[in-house]
C-alpha cells in the first residue's frame, strides 16, 4: 500500500472518522460492569504562548509517556499484554545525547493493529537529534522528560505538571514537543 496515499476525492465510508475514544472506552468499561463513567478533563479556555524566536534558534524539549524498560517487571516487549507493573508514578528524565530503551506496555495502545516493535513511532529522540543537526531546530534540550499517566487529573496538574515545568526551565527549553503514546 502507498504510505502517502492522500484521500482521493471519493466519498469515504461512514466509519472512516477519528475513533471516538471517550465514547468507545466509556461503553467498554460500562459493559465490563464498572459503574460511573470516567470524567475526562475538559476546558473551555485554552492558553497560548507564542514562540519567542524562530525554531532554528530555539532549544526544543521532549516529553513522553513511555516508560524505561525494567527487566524485573515482566513482559514489556512488542505485543505484550497490558502490564500495569511497568507503570511509573513520578516524572523522570533522560539524557538526550544517548539512546534509551523506552516501552509502552503500561499503556492501552492498539495491540491489534500495532505491535510496538519500533520505538521511533512513539519516541522521536533519534530523529530529533538529526533534525537538530540539520539546523531545522536550534538545538535539543539536554534532557527529555517522562510524564506519568495518572487517572487522577489532580495528581497530573498539581504534582507532575509543576515538576515538568521546573525541569524544562532548568533545561532552558524554548518550546516543547509532547508525544502521547
Amino acid at each position: 500500500m502507498d504510505k502517502h496515499n492522500i484521500h482521493e476525492s471519493v466519498q469515504a465510508a461512514d466509519h472512516d472518522v477519528p475513533i471516538p475514544y471517550r465514547e468507545r472506552i466509556g461503553t467498554y468499561y460500562q459493559t465490563l460492569g464498572y459503574g460511573a463513567p470516567y470524567r475526562w478533563a475538559h476546558y473551555a479556555e485554552v492558553p497560548f504562548a507564542p514562540l519567542k524566536k524562530p525554531l532554528g534558534e530555539s532549544r526544543i524539549g521532549l516529553i513522553t509517556t513511555a516508560a524505561p524498560f525494567q527487566p524485573d517487571k515482566g513482559d514489556q516487549g512488542p505485543g505484550a499484554a497490558y502490564n500495569g507493573s511497568a507503570k511509573f508514578y513520578r516524572v523522570y528524565s533522560g539524557d538526550t545525547a544517548v539512546d534509551h530503551d523506552l516501552r509502552i506496555s503500561h499503556i492501552g495502545y492498539d495491540r491489534v493493529h500495532t505491535t510496538a516493535t519500533d520505538s521511533n513511532s512513539w519516541f522521536p529522540l533519534p530523529l530529533l537529534r538529526q533534525v537538530a543537526k540539520s539546523g531545522r531546530i536550534g538545538e535539543l534540550a539536554p534532557r527529555f522528560h517522562g510524564a506519568p499517566t495518572n487517572r487522577s487529573q489532580r495528581v497530573t496538574v498539581e504534582l507532575d505538571c509543576p515538576e515538568l515545568l521546573a525541569r524544562l526551565r532548568e533545561d532552558r527549553a524554548d518550546a516543547v514537543i509532547l508525544v502521547a503514546v
Binding site: 465514547e23 507564542p50 497490558y82 499503556i107 492501552g108 521511533n120 502521547a180
Partner: protein, 130 residues
C-alpha cells in the same frame, strides 16, 4: 490516560509561557481537554510519531509537528496528517469495541482489569525507594 496527561501538561506549560505541540492519535481526547497546538495522526494508538519501521513517515510527521508549532495562529489549532494507516478504514472498528466481543471475552477482560488494578495499587502504596 496518556493523551489526557500530555494535553494537561501542554496547557500547564503554555500557561507558564512555554509554547508546545502535542503529537497524538486520539483526536477526541486531546480536543476535549483543549490544547494550543495539536498534530493529529489518524493512526492506531501507539503511532503518534509516524508509521512503525517507516523513517520517511516518521520524518514527515515530525516536520508537520514543527510546522504546527511555529505557525499555529491561535489556540486549538489541530492539523491532521494526510498520511493514512491503510487502504481500508476497518481497523477503526476494533479498538475497545464491545459490539465485537463475546460475553466470555468480556468476562475474561474484566478479571484481567481487576488484576491490573491490584498491581497498580500495590506499586502506588509501596514506600518510595529513592
Amino acid at each position: 490516560m496518556c493523551h489526557q496527561t500530555v494535553s494537561l501538561a501542554a496547557r500547564y506549560l503554555e500557561e507558564h509561557g512555554i509554547p508546545t505541540v502535542v503529537m497524538g492519535c486520539a483526536k477526541d481526547i486531546v480536543e476535549h481537554v483543549g490544547v494550543p497546538r495539536f498534530l493529529f495522526s489518524d493512526f492506531p494508538l501507539g503511532s503518534s510519531t509516524g508509521r512503525p519501521h517507516d523513517p520517511e513517515s516518521q520524518a514527515f510527521t515530525l516536520e508537520l509537528a514543527l510546522r504546527v508549532l511555529e505557525s499555529a495562529p491561535a489556540p486549538r489549532t489541530t492539523v491532521q496528517s494526510p498520511l493514512i494507516w491503510s487502504a481500508s478504514p476497518d481497523w477503526k472498528l476494533d479498538f475497545s469495541n464491545v459490539a465485537r466481543l463475546s460475553s466470555e471475552e468480556i468476562a475474561r477482560r474484566r478479571a484481567e482489569f481487576d488484576r491490573q488494578k491490584e498491581i497498580a495499587k500495590a506499586i502506588r502504596e509501596k514506600p518510595a525507594a529513592e
